[in-house]
């Protein structure tokens, strides 16, 4: 369903994604794990036509998203890491706008919107402006919106960030349900290893722009002799903390500055 070959993305001298290749089969739940700044979001942006790759090949359901953009966009839904709602419109209007953009047939539109808003417990607040929503409610609305047009592939970029355990549980239950009943292929990133272990069929671990390991959760644990996925993850990516926004050169400059001030 998703095929990526030798994908590279450079921003100036900085290489955010270094020659990665992987395949996601139809109906599979694939987790992309990595520390902050590892290149997860950049990869998702390239897969979803927001960013064009420097080189390499991508295939989504047999379509090349760098060429057949609209056809490719029709195949997937995405829940972004950071908000993408229109805060000046109501929850219902946001859903409606999405339904129109994705050409959800008028007949099923209202019914499906109601069903999803009820599922994520936003129906009572449907006529309130999104700007009055809490962080968790916004997230729930975004997730509901991602399901609206029943895509073949669902991209979830850290969808559970800032959610309470109840909503998280509900989200993954629904994702699994969709995956089982509609054969939706799911590509997700998360920082919560327990979530990845619970839902993902296969996992790729990415660090410094490159894939360091791939396989089922079981294989990854065996490969690193770890008891949990979290241990396996730390074994593969090290335990140093990453800074997402600053490049390595910036960090060096900062260190240099600190030293010169001390003297």
């Amino acid at each position: 369903m998703i095929k990526v070959q030798n994908l590279i993305k450079k921003f100036g001298d900085f290489t955010a994604v270094k020659d990665i290749s992987f395949t996601v089969e139809a109906g599979e739940i694939f987790a992309f794990l990595g520390p902050n700044g590892a290149g997860k979001t950049t990869t998702i942006k390239m897969l979803t036509t927001l960013l064009s790759p420097t080189s390499g090949k991508i295939e989504l359901d047999g379509l090349d998203p760098t060429v057949q953009k609209n056809e490719a966009r029709r195949t997937f839904g995405i829940v972004f890491q950071d908000p993408s709602l229109d805060s000046e419109q109501t929850a219902y209007e946001n859903m409606e706008l999405h339904a129109v953009l994705y050409k959800v047939p008028r007949k099923v539109r209202a019914e499906r919107i109601e069903q999803l808003l009820r599922l994520f417990e936003l129906w009572e607040r449907r006529n309130d402006y999104v700007k009055t929503f809490s962080g968790g409610m916004k997230r729930r609305l975004e997730i509901a919106r991602g399901f609206l047009h029943t895509p073949k592939i669902l991209f979830l970029d850290e969808p559970t960030l800032g959610l309470d355990p109840q909503t998280r549980n509900q989200l993954w239950t629904h994702v699994k349900h969709l995956n089982q009943t509609q054969q939706t292929t799911v590509f997700l990133t998360t920082h919560y290893m327990d979530e990845a272990e619970r839902v993902a069929h296969r996992i790729a671990i990415i660090d410094h722009g490159g894939i360091v390991a791939q396989g089922t959760p079981q294989q990854l644990k065996e490969q690193t002799n770890s008891e949990s996925l979290e241990q396996a993850f730390l074994a593969l990516t090290g335990s140093s903390i990453r800074d997402e926004s600053a490049s390595s050169a910036d960090q060096m400059r900062q260190v240099a500055k600190m030293w010169s001030q001390r003297r």
């Binding site: 064009s52 609209n70 056809e71 995405i78 993408s84 709602l85 000046e88 706008l97 129109v100 953009l101």
Partner: protein
């Protein structure tokens, strides 16, 4: 088509819902209209040019439309910041439709703003020369709005942050306004200024509005319409091209 409609509707909803913004954006044109209209009135009259209020009203209406439509394009910066732009860019809709929906929405809002100022002008004592030509004024207001909403979209597609906004304001929007003949007659200008005003798209918009509202057109309506249409097509193409190249 439905994508264009829903994005157009969004711009309109946002406008109607932000009452503070409506009032705020009418403040500046009102100042120009009342202070310049009545302040320069006596001098203008003595120079033998008739009523300055009559003369400046089409200019102030054009200015309102210029500001409103360019800002609607630059407002894309907010959508970029708050993420909504992404939602429209991953949708399976040709980007040109997204761009047209936004641009027409911005243009419609600008025409509404212009109409509000026109009403204020009428209250302040402005009288159109021919009532029969009055409906044509809306056609030209629409043309001006489309030209600059498209230009605004082009700016909005290129700008990454709010710093660029001041640059556009001081080096594009204000010169377009001041060099358009909105505030002064185009006849007998010094040569360099005469040339520059002819390069300003808004000049033809103001001139056309004067043609239909107070029956004094410098270039003639036919030339005004042709120039505005050509520029509208050029800016729409430019805006469409730059918008289609946005990367996030």
């Amino acid at each position: 088509m439905s994508a264009i409609y829903i994005l157009w509707l969004r711009e309109l909803k946002r406008y109607v819902r932000s009452r503070a913004q409506i009032v705020a954006s009418l403040g500046q044109p009102l100042l120009y209209l009342l202070v310049l209209g009545f302040g320069l009135g006596p001098v203008f009259q003595k120079a033998g040019n008739g009523s300055y209020l009559q003369f400046v009203a089409p200019g102030v209406i054009s200015m309102t439309i210029l500001f409103s439509s360019i800002f609607s394009g630059i407002a894309m910066l907010w959508d970029r910041q708050f993420g909504f732009l992404k939602e429209t860019l991953v949708a399976p809709v040709p980007r040109i439709e997204v761009m047209i929906g936004r641009t027409l929405g911005g243009a419609t809002v600008a025409v509404i703003q212009g109409t509000l100022i026109l009403i204020v002008c009428l209250i302040a004592g402005f009288r159109p020369a021919h009532l029969s030509l009055f409906p044509l004024a809306f056609l030209f207001m629409g043309l001006i709005a489309i030209v600059f909403a498209a230009l605004g979209t082009a700016f909005g597609s290129v700008l990454q942050d709010m710093q660029g906004f001041q640059l556009i304001m001081n080096f594009m929007v204000l010169p377009i306004f001041f060099l358009s003949g909105a505030l002064f007659p185009l006849a007998n200008l010094p040569k360099p200024l005469a040339i520059i005003t002819r390069l300003d798209p808004l000049t033809y918009g103001v001139d056309a509005l004067r043609g239909v509202l107070i029956n004094t057109s410098h270039f003639g309506l036919a030339l005004d319409v042709s120039v505005l249409c050509v520029i509208a097509i050029a800016f729409l193409s430019l805006g469409g091209y730059l918008f289609s190249r946005i990367q996030l």
